[in-house]
């Protein structure tokens, strides 16, 4: 298990995949916060009136966490956020499926006709959650900007 968590190549592959996924997922939500609020509302798990606040801030959290994971800046914090978010998304999709809701996922595209929630979406979220938690506990520091800066601190000029 320890070797699995410190394997540089697996960690970098999972970082690129997960980081890119969070960045791509945030783009449509940032440009269409009102439609994203409607998608959140359809899940019927957030008190009325809070959807727009969540829709205004959450995509930016996804974007910064995705960038943090990809570039390797604030990596632990980004991985913690990614883990928490993906776990929440997983619970939301599972509960919507259990309640028989026929709604758009709102995961990537905000077009209501795209990405209806189904078992495939649930599996996608399970994988994303597993990857995020893997990154949170991973120990490889290869190709991280923060590690590079730690080893090569900027020279102070007089």
């Amino acid at each position: 298990m320890k070797r699995f968590l410190e394997n540089d190549y697996i960690v970098i592959a999972v970082r690129v995949f997960t980081g890119m996924l969070f960045i791509v997922a945030s783009v449509d939500k940032i440009s269409l916060p009102d439609t994203f609020a409607a998608s959140i509302s359809n899940y019927k798990i957030i008190p009325n009136g809070l959807e727009l606040s969540v829709a205004t801030v959450l995509p930016w959290v996804e974007l910064l966490a995705g960038l943090g994971i990809l570039v390797g800046v604030f990596f632990r914090g980004s991985a913690l956020i990614a883990s928490a978010l993906s776990a929440v998304f997983l619970i939301a999709v599972a509960s919507a499926l259990a309640r028989g809701l026929d709604i758009a996922c709102g995961c990537f595209s905000q077009d209501p006709s795209v990405g209806r929630i189904n078992w495939e979406k649930l599996v996608e979220n399970v994988i994303l959650t597993a990857f995020s938690f893997y990154l949170l506990f991973s120990t490889s520091d290869k190709f991280k900007l923060e590690s590079f800066l730690r080893q090569n601190p900027p020279q102070e000029t007089v």
Partner: protein, 153 residues
Amino acid sequence: MFRQAAQESLLIILASSVLGLSYSAVSQKGLFRAKDSAVAIANTAPSVISFEEAKTLHDSKVLFLDSRHPYEFKLGHIPGSLNIPLNTFEESRSILAAMPKGKLLVTYCDGVDCNSSMQLAAKLFEAGFTNVKIFFSGWQEWKSHGLPVEQSP
């Protein structure tokens, strides 16, 4: 390790909040655009309704919009519904312009195998209609219950 992760997460959430709220203020989208009607928008975004709900709304004389091709509409449709084919949505804007934006509308197409009812609902929502419902199981379910249908000459 977790102390560091928690501190970094808080910084990221703080930065995201600043970015999100600034973007909303500049772009006039999201929280600041709908500051006074956030609840209304959240409650009235297009959502899927069941057959029973569609039947109740139809009994209450709510306007149904049929997004299918005019030929299919001509063969049979839900009584009182209006044909707004998705591919000619732009041409229907003059009809829609006469309707109040808060008017309750129900979109439908053939049934679960088609998506045009959702796409029409999305277009209506974008056009400013705040009270749009989608009868997703549509025409097929309506017919399967033996309810009255209407044909155009």
